[in-house]
Subunit: 222 residues, 2 copies
């Protein structure tokens, strides 16, 4: 919950609370356990909520509206500005009862393999909270890699390819009779890399060092 930005926990008739084991496991998230409240029953727990979503593993025969976690997150965020929203999860072993589910306006089901479909409670909470978090960011975490330099301009790329081709011709790797396809393949490969200006400089430095026709050939020559 806390890693995904949720902070409010209500426990319905917990067997043990506070629990030393729970506190020990909640490394760094004790504040959520400390602020957790306890309710005698589900209706009390969700009494002030305008939108109540129940998590259900069972789908067969259920005739309630069911969405997947992604759509659930959208629906929750639509309600958040005006309503308190509850996400109701059942106990580990049994899940929510039909009576519990009937108190929810919306059910959410996490898609799983049909033949092995039961998630742990903790896993189900993680997935639902993750989708809530993703819906806030809406993919904004996505970064292209951070570049130290602007992308190479078309002219700089041309300069690099001319240099590369000249050096590979001098090294007799590119042959005048069938150079075109190979040159195109090299171009495509480096286009895919979307070279920046530093990288062009690195590659051109490497080409200069490898150039077989350079006058100061290196230490291995007389």
């Amino acid at each position: 919950m806390k890693t995904m930005g949720l902070s409010e926990l209500v426990l319905v008739r917990p067997k043990i609370f506070p629990s030393d084991e729970a506190t020990a496991r909640a490394s760094g998230a004790n504040d959520i356990l400390e602020r957790a409240t306890v309710a005698d029953n589900l209706p009390d727990a969700i009494a002030d909520c305008g939108f109540v979503v129940g998590a259900s593993a069972r789908l067969r025969g259920l005739q309630w509206p069911v969405v997947d976690p992604r759509r659930c997150a959208e629906l929750v965020w639509q309600q958040i500005p005006q309503n308190r929203v509850a996400l109701v999860m059942g106990p580990e072993a049994s899940g929510l009862t039909n009576e519990d589910l009937a108190r929810c306006q919306q059910l959410v089901h996490i898609p799983t393999q049909p033949e092995y479909g039961s998630l742990n409670l903790a896993m189900a909470v993680q997935v639902l909270c993750y989708e809530l978090r993703m819906a806030v960011d809406a993919g904004r975490v996505q970064s292209e890699e951070v570049r130290e330099a602007p992308l190479a301009t078309a002219a700089e790329l041309e300069g690099f390819h001319a240099h590369l081709e000249r050096v590979l011709r001098d090294a007799q790797f590119l042959h005048p009779d069938h150079p075109r396809q190979l040159k195109l393949k090299l171009r495509r490969l480096f286009h895919r890399a979307r070279l920046d200006q530093n990288e062009i400089n690195i590659l051109r430095g490497a080409l200069a060092a490898l150039d077989p026709s350079k006058t100061s050939r290196g230490n291995d020559e007389p």
Copy 2:
């Protein structure tokens, strides 16, 4: 893993394996543990994989391409038809090392609260597997550029980088005193290009032709 439809697990130097505790906890998913294989190191574990994604909690200062789990799932499904794909997760306490991450073509980061951002390993696995499952259902997998050959495997990429580094060292372009950053930049650039096997062959052919230490140096030498 199993609830989300994944079945192949490779463990790198597990402390205990097989483990009674792990088997007991894997209720109903023992088959995955039974079929799990053990590798001595990460390069061995990913050797036959064409697309290697590493999970990273740390973003600061990292300049590798990073995507969120949703985009990661799209990228994985794009590669699946032609390539073996590895999703690499670090150990619980420490995560992947920088050296591990440098072997991944792509990093994935699960968005979290900035002030409390560290997910348990199990939770991170759940989120990434969940997104892979959701992406199957969504069925909206974009197609990448058509390749003439499968992507280079991790072992082939290592072979290329070793060749490149050796040749550049012989050409005195890579210096022993500050080689690391430059080597990483070269890796990153070629990771971004997602080299296929034809391209690896082209580049290694070019390196062989440019190798300053080759005996048959070329026409311009006596």
